[in-house]
C-alpha cells in the first residue's frame, strides 16, 4: 500500500498541470533570460515575465513588485536583513526588529543575525491560540523606534492565521515596515497585498504545488520599500537579487500560482472536508485527541493534533510507517524535539511532545483521510499494547 502523504506543509508534490508546464518549458526554453540580445534569451525572458505576472496576480500585487529568489528562506532573509540594513546605512535611528516566537526558524535566525549588527531583536509572545495580541505589538512598537516587524500570515505547524490588517495598521502607524512570511498562506487563503498594510511578503513555490528552487519576495512600490541586497553580482532583479533566473522553475512556479488562484475556494473546501472526515473517523477509535488552537482562525490544510495523555507522538510515529506526518517543521524535524511553536502557545513540554502536525493536500482523498485516521489509531493502540521498555542500565 502506498504511503499516505500528510506532510504538505513540509513540501507539496508538483501539480501535474505544473509538471506539464515545467516539461514544456524545459523543452522550449534553452536561453539565459538575461541574454536579451538574441532570440533564445528573449524567449526565456518572456517566460520569466509571464511567471512574474502570475505570481503578482495571486498576491494582488503589481508585476514590478515581485523579485524572484531561490525560495522563501532566501526571501525572508532578504526582506528582514535587507530592509533593516538599508535603513541603517541611510542613517535611520530605527534599530528594533520585532518578530514572533512561533515564526519559522529562518525568520527567527534572520532576526537573531541582525543582533550582531547592532539591531535590537524583540521576540513577541503569542496567546494560547497562537495569535499575536495587538496591544502586545503596540507596546513593543512604542518602546523603541522599530525598523522591521516580521509576522507570518499562517503558522507552519498549527495553521493559525494572524490578523495582518490590524497588526499591519499598528506597524504602519509606528512608521515601521511589516514583513510577512506567506510560505504557508499563499495560495491557500485569499490575500490582497494592495489593501493589506504589508511592505514585504515572502512566498515559496514548493509549498503550493510548484517546483523546489523558486520563490519570490513582494517589495511594495507605493510607498516604495528599499532593500540592501543579500549579495551582489550580475545585478539581476533590479540589483536586489543577482544570479541567473531559472526560467523553467519560474514557469512552473507561475503556473502553480495561477492554479492556486483559480482553485483556492475549491481546495479550501476540500481540505476542510478532509480534515473533518479524518477527525470524525479518528474520534471514536482514539478518544481524547485535541486539535491545538482549534478555536483560532486557521488554514484548512494544516492541523496540529494532540494525542491523549498516555501517548507520546514520537513513539506513535515510529510504528506508523504508512502515514507520513511530522512533529513540527521539516527543517527541525531531525531534532525530534517537541515543537517550540506549541510551547510558545503555552503547551507544556509534555503536551507538545504529544502533538503531531498533519497537513493533507489538494490530492488527498477523503478515503485516504479515513485510512490515515485508521493508521494513526492502530499505531496508538499498538503503542499502548507494548509494555513499557525497562530503562537501559547505565553504561
Amino acid at each position: 500500500m502506498a504511503a499516505l502523504y500528510f506532510d504538505h506543509a513540509a513540501t507539496t508534490p508538483c501539480d501535474p498541470r505544473v509538471q506539464a508546464v515545467l516539461l514544456r518549458a524545459l523543452a522550449e526554453e534553452n536561453g539565459n533570460p538575461h541574454s536579451t540580445t538574441h532570440a533564445s534569451g528573449i524567449r526565456a525572458a518572456r517566460m520569466v515575465e509571464q511567471a512574474r505576472a502570475q505570481v503578482a496576480a495571486l498576491l494582488g500585487a503589481d508585476e514590478r513588485e515581485i523579485v524572484f529568489t531561490s525560495g522563501a528562506t532566501e526571501s525572508n532573509n532578504l526582506a528582514i536583513k535587507g530592509a533593516a540594513r538599508h535603513l541603517a546605512v541611510h542613517g535611520s535611528p530605527r534599530r528594533r526588529v520585532i518578530t514572533v516566537a512561533t515564526e519559522h526558524k529562518c525568520v527567527l535566525q534572520s532576526v537573531a543575525d541582525l543582533a550582531g549588527e547592532g539591531f535590537e531583536p524583540v521576540i513577541l509572545p503569542v496567546n494560547p491560540l497562537g495569535q499575536v495580541e495587538p496591544d502586545v505589538l503596540a507596546r513593543a512598537l512604542a518602546q523603541a523606534p522599530t525598523a522591521v516587524v516580521s509576522i507570518a500570515a499562517a503558522n507552519n505547524e498549527t495553521g493559525v492565521l494572524q490578523d495582518l490588517a490590524t497588526l499591519g495598521a499598528l506597524v504602519a502607524q509606528a512608521g515601521a515596515l511589516l514583513h510577512t512570511d506567506l510560505a504557508q498562506a499563499a495560495g491557500k487563503t485569499a490575500l490582497d497585498l494592495h489593501t493589506l498594510p504589508v511592505a514585504l511578503a515572502s512566498i515559496s513555490s514548493h509549498k503550493l504545488y510548484g517546483p523546489k528552487g523558486a520563490g519570490a519576495l513582494f517589495v511594495r512600490r507605493r510607498p516604495r520599500v528599499r532593500l540592501t541586497p543579500l549579495f551582489s553580482g550580475g545585478g539581476q532583479e533590479r540589483g536586489l537579487r543577482s544570479g541567473t533566473l531559472p526560467g523553467f522553475l519560474l514557469a512552473g512556479f507561475g503556473e502553480a500560482c495561477q492554479i492556486a488562484r483559480t482553485d483556492m475556494a475549491h481546495d479550501g473546501a476540500h481540505l476542510a472536508e478532509v480534515q473533518a472526515v479524518f477527525l470524525a473517523r479518528l474520534g471514536p477509535q482514539l478518544p481524547g485527541c485535541v486539535v491545538n488552537a482549534q478555536e483560532a482562525a486557521r488554514l484548512p490544510g494544516i492541523f496540529s493534533l494532540r494525542l491523549p495523555p498516555d501517548l507520546r507522538a514520537a513513539e506513535v510515529l515510529a510504528v506508523m510507517p504508512g502515514l507520513e506526518v511530522s512533529l513540527g517543521s521539516a527543517c527541525s524535524s531531525a531534532e525530534l524535539a517537541p515543537s517550540y511553536v506549541l510551547e510558545a502557545m503555552g503547551l507544556s513540554f509534555e503536551e507538545a511532545g504529544r502533538s503531531l502536525r498533519l497537513s493533507p493536500g489538494r490530492f488527498t482523498s477523503t478515503a485516504e483521510a479515513e485510512r490515515a485516521a485508521d493508521s494513526l489509531a492502530q499505531a496508538a493502540l499498538q503503542v499502548r499494547a507494548t509494555p513499557p521498555r525497562r530503562p537501559m542500565p547505565a553504561a
Partner: protein, 382 residues
C-alpha cells in the same frame, strides 16, 4: 558535434545557439535525473519515508559532485547557482581578510566582495592572464592575510589563469584561494585538490544541467565551517538555509557526470571558426594562451559589438557581447578593457559552442560572419 542527427529534419527556422557560456542546453541525462527526482515528493529534511528518500537522492548527488570535483562530500555545499556559490565563499570565508580580485572576474565576484571589505584588483596581461609577479607583490604586502579570487576560465575569452602557480603563491603567503570554475567545470578536468584551490564555485546550468542549482566546494578532509549568507532550518550543515531543490541538484550531478564521461572535442570546431574569422579580419582576444575549448572572443575592428549582435541575430545566430547578466545593458567588455585592448573592448562578440553543436552550425556561422565582416547586406538564414 552531434552530426549523427539527420540534417534533413533540422528546423532551420530555429536559431543556431552559440551562447553556451550564458547557459548550456539541457543534457538528456540531466533531464532524466531531474524527472526522477521530481517524482519524489518529500522534503529532504523530513524524517518520514518520503523525506528519507529525498534525502538519499540528495546525498547521492552530493557524493557524485564531491567525488568528481575532488572534495569530501561534507565539503560540497549546494546553492541556488554560481553567483550564490561565489558570494557564499567570499562572505563565509573571507571575513577579516583583504580581497585580491582579478580584473577580469565575473560580476558575481567583482561586485560580490562584502561591503566594507578591503579590496584591491589583480591586473592581467594582454592575454588576459593574471600577472604572477604582481600577485606575488600583492600577497607580500603587509596587512591581513589575503582572500584571492581568480577564475579558472574566463567567461568572455575562455582564457585560463595559471591556477596551479597561483595556488602555490597563495599557499606560500597563507592566502585563501577562491576559484570561480563556473565556466570550466564540465568543460575540462577540474579537481579542487589538484588545483590547490581552497574553495571553488560551479553552476549546474553552465554544464548542461538545469538552472537553479550550483555548488561551493571546499578543500580538506574535515567539514569546513563557513558563515552563511542566509540561514534557515540548518540545511547544508548550517552553511546555506532553505529547502534544497532536489530536481535541480540531481540534474546538476547528472550533467557533470555526462560532461566528464562523454567529453566533446570542440577544439577542432573552435579552431575552424577562429581561423575563418581571422581570415576576414577578426582579432581573437586572448589567442596564444591556454583557453577553454568552446569559447572564442572575436573583435572586428571598427564595428560596434551591438550592431554585430543584431546582425547575427537576424541571421539566426544566438551569440553575445559579454556576460549574459549585463548583455542587455552594455556592449563594452571590462574583460577586454583590462587586457588593454582599447576600442576593441566595444567591438567584440563572444561565440561559445554548446556541447551539442554541429559542424554544420559552425559552417553556417562562418559564412554569415564573413558576410558581415565584408559589410554585405542582410542575408537571412536559409
Amino acid at each position: 558535434m552531434n552530426d549523427k542527427t539527420d540534417d534533413r529534419v533540422r528546423d532551420f527556422s530555429k536559431p543556431v545557439y552559440l551562447d553556451a557560456n550564458a547557459t548550456e542546453p539541457l543534457r538528456p541525462l540531466a533531464r532524466v535525473a531531474m524527472l526522477e527526482a521530481a517524482d519524489l515528493t518529500g522534503n529532504p529534511s523530513s524524517v518520514h519515508h518520503a523525506g528519507r528518500q529525498a534525502r538519499a537522492m540528495l546525498e547521492e548527488a552530493r557524493n557524485t559532485v564531491a567525488r568528481r570535483l575532488g572534495v569530501a562530500p561534507l565539503n560540497c555545499v549546494f546553492t541556488s547557482g554560481g553567483t550564490e556559490a561565489n558570494v557564499l565563499a567570499m562572505h563565509g570565508l573571507g571575513q577579516g581578510r583583504r580581497f585580491l580580485v582579478g580584473r577580469t572576474e565575473h560580476d558575481a565576484v567583482r561586485k560580490g566582495v562584502p561591503d566594507g571589505a578591503d579590496r584591491a584588483w589583480l591586473e592581467v596581461d594582454s592575454h588576459g592572464q593574471v600577472c604572477l609577479d604582481l600577485l606575488d607583490a600583492a600577497l607580500s604586502a603587509p596587512g591581513a592575510p589575503a582572500f584571492v579570487c581568480l577564475m579558472l576560465a574566463n567567461n568572455e575569452t575562455g582564457v585560463l589563469h595559471p591556477i596551479a602557480e597561483v595556488a602555490r603563491l597563495c599557499r606560500q603567503h597563507g592566502a585563501h584561494l577562491h576559484v570561480d570554475a563556473v565556466q570550466a567545470a564540465g568543460r575540462m578536468a577540474v579537481n579542487v585538490e589538484e588545483l590547490g584551490a581552497d574553495s571553488l564555485a560551479c553552476s549546474g546550468h553552465k554544464m548542461g544541467g538545469p538552472k537553479g542549482a550550483g555548488a561551493l566546494l571546499l578543500r580538506g578532509p574535515a567539514p569546513r565551517a563557513l558563515a552563511p549568507v542566509f540561514e534557515g532550518g540548518g540545511q547544508e550543515q548550517g552553511r546555506r538555509g532553505g529547502t534544497q531543490p532536489l530536481p535541480a541538484i540531481a540534474g546538476l550531478a547528472a550533467a557533470l557526470c555526462d560532461a566528464l564521461d562523454n567529453p566533446q572535442d570542440l577544439l577542432p570546431l573552435r579552431n575552424r571558426l577562429e581561423q575563418a574569422a581571422q581570415a576576414v579580419g577578426a582579432v581573437v582576444c586572448g589567442a596564444g594562451v591556454p583557453r577553454l575549448c568552446n569559447t572564442v572572443s572575436l573583435a572586428l575592428p571598427g564595428r560596434r559589438a551591438q550592431g554585430q549582435l543584431m546582425r547575427l541575430d537576424l541571421d539566426g545566430f544566438c551569440v553575445s557581447a559579454g556576460s549574459a547578466c549585463s548583455s542587455g545593458k552594455v556592449a563594452f567588455s571590462h574583460v577586454l578593457d583590462a587586457m588593454g585592448l582599447g576600442e576593441l573592448a566595444g567591438q567584440a562578440i563572444r561565440v561559445s559552442l554548446p556541447w551539442n553543436v554541429r559542424e554544420a552550425d559552425v559552417e553556417r556561422f562562418v559564412q554569415s560572419y564573413a558576410r558581415m565582416a565584408a559589410g554585405a547586406g542582410l542575408a537571412l538564414a536559409q
